[in-house]
Symmetry: C2
Subunit: 124 residues, 2 copies
């Protein structure tokens, strides 16, 4: 493919699998779940209490997605009643550094961002 050079290579675009992966891992609730599990492994309802705004359905979906991608691990102990514990995997831990970089960025630049928003609203 691309045997003609009519379209210049320009530069690499973001590969689709990479972007889809980040969509699955950086979505609304995943950041907060990871933030929790980086501190300590947690049970399902512990996570619900720690993230009050999430519904049971969304939390389940988020945990399944993270589990599917090897970011968190789900452990069932056959006690009575059953206990289910979620923990971050070694792979998941490697996500912490880039995510923290992002959170630091947000923290450092929030003032500038809000100034930009005010300007935009006034000029609009």
């Amino acid at each position: 493919m691309r045997e003609t050079s009519s379209t210049p290579p320009e530069h690499v675009e973001i590969a689709r699998p990479h972007r889809e992966l980040l969509d699955q891992v950086l979505d609304k609730w995943s950041l907060q779940v990871l933030n929790e599990l980086c501190e300590r492994p947690s049970r399902f309802n512990e996570l619900r209490r720690a993230i009050p705004a999430v519904t049971q359905k969304s939390l389940t979906a988020t945990l399944r997605r993270l589990e599917r991608n090897g970011i968190v691990e789900r452990t069932v102990t056959s006690t009575r009643p059953v206990a289910v514990e979620y923990d971050i995997t070694p792979l998941g831990k490697t996500l912490r550094e880039p995510i923290d970089a992002l959170l630091d960025w947000a923290h450092e630049n929030m003032a500038d961002i809000e100034r930009a928003r005010s300007r935009f609203n006034e000029e609009g």
Copy 2:
């Protein structure tokens, strides 16, 4: 606030403004737009061609959102017909480093991720 200690401090959760900011800046199309504008300023239709999957509507919305947050700048030159150029701001440039860290993470760990997905699908 927190005059009773019935709820232990545990640790800080992600502040809502920060999370909402990241939602606005890390969404489906913003990453690709930023990726383009980090290379060179671009006209509207240049961006459309560079990101074939984006619709005009979504690209407009993405650019407005980034502009509102001070990440990109929109310049109109009153030629005939009008030319509109989008460029990244200094603030936007500071986003590149943490985003690249994320993309590097995705690149480095994609193999592990796909192994985890296969395992998950087989066990499920």
